[in-house]
């Protein structure tokens, strides 16, 4: 036994070629194709976990938890739209397509969001009647593929989101693999059943910021200037993207960090393109402030939002709202231990499952298989989403009250410190216990 232990203790795994790397190299050698998967970035990057709030003390007066009011409402689209979105909480549901997700999953997201007074968002593939029916406030995405795009749905929407990119793959298009293309999905997208459906990486009828301004103008004309127009960008060249989106006439800018989820993207893209949500948030806010448009053009941040702490920290850095995608799917049951045995049959395990592209999701979420989809009760799912959104909101309120804020949007960078040098530099808040902000210009 001692010898066996000694042998085990002598084993040293390479940091460079760890088991995950070895497995991927050997998978690539067997299959001859890059790994396509769902979920989001799995590597460690600086995130909101690396920030802490400075609660009230002698110099700051806290609000009484559970007693004193801490408001959470937010209005999105106040710049040009006749009908801005009035949301009760600053947490929205991100765009996820019918096709990538099952119809019950989309319905559940709409039900949950509506129950707590927030918005949900369509995705690549268009708007389903169920989604519209069960979503009190629905944002309709205009994507490069324009799958399902039509002026009727544009007018039925409460807001329009021009998607330039997403955090999981800034600069990349999309792919819905053929085995997820049911008859209904195929019909909505004007393509035959069973073939891979590519989503282009750039829009078909505009190519730069000047064109985008004209495109937004057209969308406003078609909808008689009623709807707020969002512009969504993947976090990469955030400073310029935000300023150009403002110049192009966006009412709301959505910045999706590299931890943002995807239904199907090359692993190499997910893990190696874009910047984390943490620096992207700060950069976006600075870009707006430089233009004098902070709070005039609202900022939504997404990519790795999981807790009320994440929500509160994003707001403290200057976002007007956050958006959740992966976390919403997890709330619906994605990666639940309940399905561990079935995940293992698919070569994965609960907590690790990321094969959204495969369409065999035992939780009935990322699938178009009727039998699997039927496992997800949209009413029960909607309730879970509503509960989860309430918890996020309560947690954010708790932190805001502790910082003496009567509205979650009153949180500010001054309420934060960083745990690491990297996070301090990225968020431009001091390293805890110091007044040092790495990279900040000395005043």
């Amino acid at each position: 036994m001692a010898a066996e232990t000694e042998r085990a203790w002598n084993l040293r795994e390479s940091h460079l070629f760890d088991r995950t790397v070895i497995a991927e190299i050997q998978r690539a050698a067997r299959k001859g194709i890059y790994d396509i998967r769902g979920f989001g970035a799995k590597r460690h990057v600086p995130h909101f976990d690396d920030l802490l709030f400075l609660g009230a003390s002698i110099s700051r007066y806290p609000l009484e938890g559970y007693r004193e009011r801490c408001a959470t409402d937010v209005v999105l689209g106040t710049r040009f739209a006749k009908k801005p979105l009035e949301l009760r909480i600053p947490v929205t549901i991100a765009g996820m397509s019918f096709g990538a997700l099952s119809a019950p999953a989309k319905e559940a997201l709409g039900r949950g969001a509506s129950e707590v007074g927030t918005s949900t968002t369509t995705g690549d593939g268009g708007m389903t009647p169920e989604e519209r029916e069960h979503s009190e406030t629905l944002v309709y995405q205009l994507l490069p593929s324009r799958y399902g795009m039509n002026p009727d749905d544009l007018r039925k929407a409460d807001a329009i989101e021009v998607v330039v990119g997403q955090g999981a793959k800034p600069g990349g298009g999309g792919m819905l693999l053929g085995h997820k293309i049911s008859d209904r999905v195929a019909e909505m997208r004007d393509l035959p059943r069973g073939i891979d459906q590519r989503s282009a990486s750039r829009h078909p009828d505009w190519t730069g910021p000047d064109d985008l301004e004209i495109k937004i103008g057209e969308l406003r004309e078609i909808t008689d200037w009623e709807k707020p127009v969002f512009v969504k960008v993947g976090a990469t060249r955030t400073y310029y993207d935000v300023q150009l989106a403002v110049k192009a006439g966006a009412d709301v800018i959505v910045v999706d960090g590299m931890q943002g989820g995807t239904a199907a993207t090359q692993d190499v893209f997910i893990e190696h393109v874009g910047i984390p949500t943490l620096p992207a948030t700060r950069i976006a806010v600075e870009a707006l402030q430089e233009l004098g448009m902070h709070r005039q053009v609202q900022l939504i941040v997404s990519g790795g939002i999981r807790t009320g702490a994440d929500v509160a920290k994003a707001l403290a850095l200057g976002a007007d709202a956050v958006s959740i995608g992966t976390a919403a799917l997890v709330a619906l049951g994605d990666n639940s231990p309940e399905y561990d045995e079935q995940y293992r049959q698919l070569g994965s395990a609960a907590g690790f499952y990321d094969d959204y592209q495969a369409g065999r999701d035992p939780a009935g979420i990322s699938t178009q298989d009727d039998e699997l989809a039927a496992r997800l009760d949209p009413v029960v799912g909607g309730r879970k989403i509503a509960n989860y959104l309430r918890v996020l909101t309560l947690e954010a309120q708790t932190l805001a009250r502790a910082c003496g804020k009567s509205h979650v949007l009153n949180l500010e960078p001054e309420d934060l410190v960083a745990l690491t040098v990297e996070a301090a530099a990225m968020a431009r808040v001091p390293l805890a216990g110091t007044d040092w902000i790495p990279g900040a210009t000395p005043t």
Binding site: G178, I195, P204, W206, D224
Partner: protein
């Protein structure tokens, strides 16, 4: 004073030097909910963008002059005639109806269109019919590069020549080209022209009011080799 011909009495004339584009489009949109003139004449468009976009009613709109981007965008049911040239994205995402351009059209003409007929009597630029999803497009002259890129459904008829990468990554759309094709894009191949195709082409040319013999055209479409990704085709992308 000479009598005004009866058919001209009903024409609503809108001068874009005197009223705003917003007012014009709003009045056209209002027709979907309340009766109004069935024939409109827009003068002095002066290259304005988004002229007559988002119409959802059987109405005829004649535009006297050049228009900018996205003229007749997302059109439903209306017939929009541009007596001039059109900027990028004319009839983008059109659902039904007809859009007719007397002159030339800039890039992305008929982009993502899902129905209806777009006729460009002159030339169309790059990306004509990009991601088309059911629209029919007839071009009297030539089209630029990447036309019918990722074209899903519908027909693109070109009486002149086609530029590089025609039909790149095409799905189920049909391309009829009378002149030279500079280069076919990935997965786009020449196909046999059968009687059904000549009949379809003849109908489109007739609808477009273009006098051309269907027998002079060649047909192109998808080889369907890239419909499902396999590594053996990686070199084609």
């Amino acid at each position: 004073m000479a009598a005004v011909p009866a058919e001209e009495v009903a024409v609503e004339v809108v001068d874009l030097e005197k009223i705003s584009l917003r007012e014009l489009n709003q009045r056209l949109h209002n027709l979907a909910h309340a009766p109004g003139p069935s024939a409109w004449r827009v003068v002095n468009p002066d290259g304005a963008h988004a002229v007559a976009c988002g119409i959802d009613v059987d109405v005829e709109v004649a535009i006297e002059g050049h228009v900018g981007y996205y003229c007749a965008g997302m059109n439903k049911r209306a017939t929009v005639r541009v007596h001039g040239n059109a900027g990028p994205g004319v009839a983008e995402n059109m659902m039904s109806g007809q859009v007719l351009v007397d002159g030339n059209a800039s890039q992305s003409a008929g982009a993502t269109g899902r129905g209806g007929l777009l006729v460009v009597r002159g030339d169309a630029s790059a990306r004509c019919g990009i991601s088309m999803k059911g629209i029919d497009i007839v071009v009297g002259g030539s089209v630029g590069h990447l036309s019918a890129f990722m074209a899903q459904r519908g027909c693109l008829v070109v009486c002149g020549d086609a530029g590089e990468a025609l039909g790149d990554s095409i799905y189920e759309a049909r391309l009829y080209i009378r002149g030279e094709v500079a280069e076919l894009g990935a997965d786009c191949v020449e196909k046999e022209v059968r009687a059904e195709h000549r009949e379809q082409l003849g109908g489109l040319l007739e609808a477009a009011g273009i006098d051309a013999d269907p027998a002079d055209f060649r047909r192109y479409g998808s080889a369907r080799k890239l419909y499902n990704f396999t590594i053996d085709n990686a070199g084609a992308y």
